[in-house]
Symmetry: none
DNA sequence: GAATAAGCGAGACGGTACGTCCCGTCTTAGC
DNA sequence: GCTAAGACGGGACGTACCGTCTCGCTTATTC
C-alpha cells in the first residue's frame, strides 16, 4: 500500500450547526461512504482512489476532498457507520445447550460465509500493518456487539448448568472465532454456508466435548 | 506518440542452454526477489512497484521487466524461494505429552511473534481476494511443512497413549492455529513472544484438558 | 495572466550529446513549439495551457513538462526559433528614391497586414508588463533584421543624394513603424494590405516631403 | 485568453425605480470597479477573476455576480468610468508655435511616462484580439478628448500662420502618437518622463522642420 | 580474435491518478 | 431583496509512478 501523503484542507464537519453558507449534502456524504467501502472491499485500501470514489458516488472530486483528507479516514468512517444488523435475536432464547450452541454456530456460519464478510476481514487484516484504525473501527462497530451477545449466551448456558463450571467461555469463543479465520484464509476448504456450518458444529462439539447433555 | 501495447516480453528464464549473448546476472535475480518481498512486507502488494523494486535492488527497470511481467509473479517467486527455517528438530524427541505440547506451543510462539511473520500473514490475507496464489505459495513453502511436523508429533503422542484415542488431532491443530490468528488480528492483546507463549499454553491446556498425565 | 508558480524539474536540453538513454524526439520538440506559438496567437499567454499545448502537439503532457518548466519559456523559444522570412530582397536594388521608399512601404504594408502579425504584436505588447522576454525574443529574431535592412536602404538612398543630407533616418523609421502601430491599435482604420499601403505611402510622403526627386 | 462562457443572470442595474427590498450598495459598486481595473493593470484580463475582484473589493462573490456576468464587462465599465484628468488647460493659450508644440510634447510625455498608463495601453492592446470593446471604451473616455484638444491646438497654430498651410495636422498627431508607442513597446529606450520629453521634442522638431519660426 | 547476440543502465514516451486551486453557480441564514 | 458565507460540479495545474520503447555500452559464446 504505497505511501502518499500531502497537506490537506478538509474540515471534519461544519463548525456551527446553522451557519450562513449552503449546507453540505448529506446525500453526497452517504454516497461517498458507500462508494468508499465498496471500493475497499473490491480492491483494497490502495484501490480506494479519491477519483474512483467520486465517480462512483456521482460527485465531484472536490466534494470528497472538502470532507476528508485521506482515503483511510473515509473508509474508517464508512465502516464505523454501517451498523451491524442485530438479527441474532435467536440466540437469546434457546432451551438446551445443544440447541444454544447450534444456534450460535449456525448464526456464525451464516455471517462468515457471506463473500462480503470474507472480503472485509481479508482487507482489514491486510491493512492492519499500515492502518490498524480500520480494523479497530470494524471491531468496535460490528464484532464486539456480536461477540458480547455470544459470550452472554454461553455464560448463561454455563450458569444454568449446561456446561461444566470451570469452562473458560471467553477462550472457547476465541477458539471458535480463530477456527473460522483458519478455515477462511489458511485452509483451502469449503467456505459455503453449509460447509462452514458443518465445520463449526464439529468445532463446538470438540470444544464442549464433555459437557453434560 | 505511438499506440499502446500491453503485451509482455518477460521470458521466465533463458530459452536455450547456453546462448551466445551475455547471461543474466544471478546477483540481480536475488536482489530483485529480496527487494520485492521486503516491499511487499512493508507496503503491501500495491506498494511493490517495479520501479521501487528496481531502485532497491540497485538495478535498472529493464532488468526487472526482462524477467517478470507483474508484481505478483515476482512476489510469489520470492515467497516460494525463501525456505522456512527447519529449526523445529526439538519437536522430534520429547518424552512426555506435556513437554511435547509445550515444545510445540513454544516453537509456534517464537515464530508468530516475529514482526516479519505477522506482517507476512497480514499482507497475504489482504492479497487473498485478488491474488490467492501468493498465499498458496507461502503455505506450500512454509506452512505445510511445519504443520506436517506438528501433526506427526501429535499423532505420535496419541499413538503412545499420551492423548485420548479419539482425539481429532487435525482439528486440534486447526484450533491452535486459529487461536494465533485471532490473537494477532482480532484481539488487541500482547503479541510478544512471551505473551504468545502464555496464550498458546493456555490454549493447549484447554484443548487437551482431559488427557491423561 | 493569473499567478501560478511552482517548482519544476525540466532539463533545458540533454546534458551530453550522446548519453545512454533514449534521445528526445525532435518531432515532438517542433510540434510543441508550433502548438505553443499558435495558442499564444489565438488566446494570449494565459491561453497557453500545458494541457492544450500537449493536445495540439499530439504529445503527452509529461513530454512537455520534461522539456520546459513554464509556458513563457516555451513561447519564447518558439518565437525565437521561427525565422522571419528574408524575402525583402526587393529592397536591395531600387533605382530612384520614390521607388525605394515605395518598396519599403509596400513590403511593410504586406507584413503588417497579416492577421498573424497583428495578433503577434498585440499579444507581445500585452505580455510585456509580465514577460518582456517574449517581446525581446521577437525583436531579436524578426524585427531587428528587417529594421536593419530598411535602415541600410534608407542610408544608401541618403548617401546617393536622394535624401537631404541631414535627414535622421533612424528617427524616420521610428516614425513609420510607430505610425503602423498607431494605425493598428489606436485608430479604428482599414488594416487590409491595400489600406496599409496607402496609409504608409502617405506617411512616407509626409516624412520625406522636401526631398529632391 | 482562455474561453469560459456560461449563462448569466446579472441585471445591469435595478429594474424598477424603488423596489421593496434593500437597495444595492453604491460603495460596493465603486470598490468592485476599482478592484477590477487594478487587477486588469496588474495581471491582464485573464487575471481579473471574479473571485479576486470580490476579495479585493472586500465583497462577497454574489455581490459581484449580481451586477456583472463577465470580467470584460466589469473592466470595460471601470475603464469608461474613470474620467481622464482635464489638466491640459495649458494647451489652450500658448503664444508661439515653439511654445505650443513644447507644451503638447511635455504634456504627452508626462502622461505616457506614468507606469499606470503604460500598463493600461499594453493590457488593452493585448486584449484587442479578443475584446476590442475595452480599447474602444478607453479611447472614447480618455484618448479621444485629449487627441481632440491637441488637434484643435495644432489647427489653431496652423490658422495663425505658425505652420505651413498644407500641413496634415491629423497625420502629424498620428505620427507623434505612434512614435510614443514605438518607443514604449518596440524600442528598449528610456521611458522616464525626462526621456520621453526629450524624445518627443525631437520628434516634433523633425516633423515640423520647415515651419516658420 | 572478430562477429554476434543478449544483458544492462539510462532515460524518453504515452498515460493515469493524485491533491490543489480557481471558477461560475447554487443554496442557505441574516439584515 | 440584498449581502455574506460556503457547498457544488468542473477543469487545469504540476508531480509521481507506471509499463513500454529505444538508445549506447558491456559481456559471453560461436565462428
Amino acid at each position: 500500500m504505497s505511501t502518499r501523503t500531502r497537506s490537506s484542507r478538509a474540515t471534519p464537519e461544519r463548525g456551527r450547526r446553522n451557519g450562513p453558507g449552503r449546507p453540505r449534502s448529506s446525500a453526497a456524504d452517504a454516497a461517498i461512504l458507500r462508494a468508499a467501502v465498496d471500493l475497499f472491499l473490491e480492491r483494497g485500501l490502495d484501490g480506494v482512489g479519491i477519483e474512483q470514489v467520486a465517480e462512483r458516488a456521482e460527485v465531484a472530486r472536490t466534494t470528497v476532498y472538502r470532507r476528508w483528507s485521506s482515503r483511510e479516514s473515509i473508509v474508517a468512517k464508512g465502516i464505523a457507520q454501517t451498523r451491524g444488523g442485530a438479527d441474532e435475536e435467536i440466540l437469546r432464547s434457546s432451551p438446551s445447550l445443544r440447541a444454544t450452541v447450534n444456534a450460535v454456530a449456525d448464526s456464525l456460519a451464516r455471517i462468515v460465509s457471506l463473500p462480503r464478510y470474507q472480503r472485509m476481514i481479508a482487507r482489514l487484516i491486510g491493512s492492519t500493518p499500515d492502518h490498524p484504525e480500520l480494523m479497530a473501527a470494524y471491531l468496535r462497530a460490528h464484532f464486539v456487539p456480536r461477540r458480547k451477545l455470544a459470550a452472554e449466551t454461553l455464560e448463561r448456558a454455563c450458569a444454568e448448568g449446561l456446561l461444566r463450571e470451570d469452562a473458560d467461555t471467553e477462550l472457547l469463543l476465541d477458539l471458535a472465532t480463530g477456527a473460522v479465520m483458519y478455515r477462511l484464509f489458511l485452509c483451502p476448504g469449503d467456505s459455503s454456508q453449509k460447509g462452514m456450518r458443518a465445520y463449526l458444529r464439529r468445532v463446538f462439539r470438540e470444544l464442549l466435548r464433555e459437557a453434560r447433555p
